[in-house]
Amino acid sequence: MRVTNSIADMQYDMQQSQQDLSVALEQVSTSKRVNQLSDDPSASANMVRSLAASTNVDSYTRNVDSVLAKLQTADSALSSVVTSLNQAVTLGTSGANSTMTDANREALAMQVQGILANVVAQANTSYQGSYMFAGSDTSTMPFTSDAASIGGYVYNGNSTVNQVQVGDSISVATNVPGDQIFNSGANVIGSLANLISVLQSGTLTDIGTATIAVSTALNYVSQQRVPLGNSIAQLNSQESYLNQETVTLSTQQTSLVGIDLATAATNLSQAETTNNAVLAAAAKVLPQTLLDYLQ
């Protein structure tokens, strides 16, 4: 082949090695292998999906935190109701004792009256301005006094249960409607009101029966707390799962578009060596002509 003084080749080689060098430099300085979509189109597309998944996990985590606080408030309200009902059962049992005078029973009735007021107050618990036991009618006080209703209180809420998503396929109930806890099944408010009235004017047998009814209501409320406790436990475990998922996704994102520093540094030093070699070769070859020797 006839070799001429063409320097295009040399320029092309220098350009190529300069480009490799600048890519290597960019990877080191950004710690990223994919700096624009065209660097790896399929990794970029997967990055879109992974980032969307990350955003979802973040939002599930926020949901878990806020639902957890809400359910804990509900649980502590129900725990207070259980304590109150236990007291009522004790009072009823002592009221059924034949040694009690009417005046004593009247005093017991007054105490049960106080317990009823406390239970109603718990049933009207609000969390961040929303009533907890009103179903989805969270702006209306769920239990208000109403002479026409059994037990003297009427339920103004509904029986809607709100679900909140805390995982791609996991939702938890964030409320227990008040009618389900306090009115249906064993009627908590009704049984307390009944105990008050029999303590004031009933027979010993009536008081005994009424006390048993309160005790049944107590068991019922305790049962209602179980799913609540389960939800809380589920949320706690979901939270640690989500934390782990955050780490997994961020690892995934790093491996999609990132580059580890050791590789990047090695690439850079390789590119530098090549570039130096090309430049050194060019410096040797370019000035050579026959004229140098024809003196």
Binding site: R2, L37, P41, A45, V48, T55, N63, S139, T160, T289
Partner: protein
Amino acid sequence: MSLNASLNIAVQSLLADTGALQATNNNIANANTVGYSRQTVTPQEAAPYTDGQGNGVVLEGYQSIRSEILQRQIEQQTQEQSSADAQQANLQQIQTVFTTSTEDIGTQMSALFSSISNLSTDPTNSSLRQSVLTSGENLVAAFHTASNALATQQAGLNTQVTQDVSDINSLARQIAALNPQLTALKQSGQDGGTLQDQQDQLLLSLSKLTNISVTQTENGETLTTGNGTALVVGGESFALQTTTNSDGVQQVTDPAGTNITSAISGGDLGGTLQVCHQTIPELLTSLDTLANQFGTAMNAAQAEGYDQNGAMGGNLFTLPAGVAGSAADINMATTDVSTIAASSDGSSGSNGNLANLTAVQTTKLATGATPTDTYANMVYQVGSLTANATAESTATAASLVQLNDQRNSLSGVSIDEESTNLIRYQQAYEAAARVVTTISNLFDVTMSMGTNAAS
């Protein structure tokens, strides 16, 4: 043979060597001239005397060393490279619209679903509701930004098309002007030389702009565009024109008014038209489809529930009547936080319908993919188009280097070679000059024959 005849041979020799020195000089002078083809001299023996005795040297002329086939291959490859370069440069800009970083459509879509999901924990909370509307506004803004960026890019390319076509026409005129001169040279049996170099350079410049095919005729080089429309025939050139089509995009027509846009595939014009007529409209359609189907799906989910006042859910997004222009014209239909239809039973505290809204994220749109996947597919599309254009540009650049190597090997000037020739022709000239001196001495001897001085 007479002394005069010998003197004639010496003079021919001096002339031939001077000619050769001139060629060498010219080669050295143009060693770095782009597109120069080295010239050689072709000395020939002069017609002999009847007795067969040699009669000196004759310089037939100069010959440029070039290969037409190689030249055509370089033009071909240049057309492909310029097209790939134009596409790459434009796609590089487009792909920044679809980054995976912060403000893009994908991120904003996720943020909207995230804020809706958060609202489900406390559906009456007005700051959570506001955050849904704000995320919606951000998403709408992201659609607008992407759509505007593509439209702006397209408008810029329209100018490029007009500019390219005007350059093509100017080059075609110059090429046509050279044709008669070259034809005249060739008909007189001479080499095209410098004029041919000029025309080849013009063809190369034209190849950077568009795809052409070159045919040699007795009237010079005939150029035709991609679909066979004549651009240059003999000394005549035919101007291409640009017109604006119904979508506001520039298209190219031949002198007869026929639309030849689709036949232009090479050169800067080819690459530009590809981006302008194919890539950008396709991406805009994808964007519009996504915006339209996403907005429609969200509105449908809204309609299934009740807002904070217990009314049926109204539209969350306003969309144009058709799919076209959806990305540019999608807007939030409301700024009132109470209009978000969170409730499934009409009570303000219900969050039942938010699940329908968040379900849009995981439900396939009419595109056959979820909103996120649809966007991810667009990201892939843009990325791979850019990567392909880059790869093609790199590949054609490498093959152009090869072809130029071959051309330089054949037509390029070697300083070493010319230096050697310089010495060779100088020595030949010196020798011929010596012959003249010798013959001159012989004349002197002949003149003084028979005189005392001769003895």
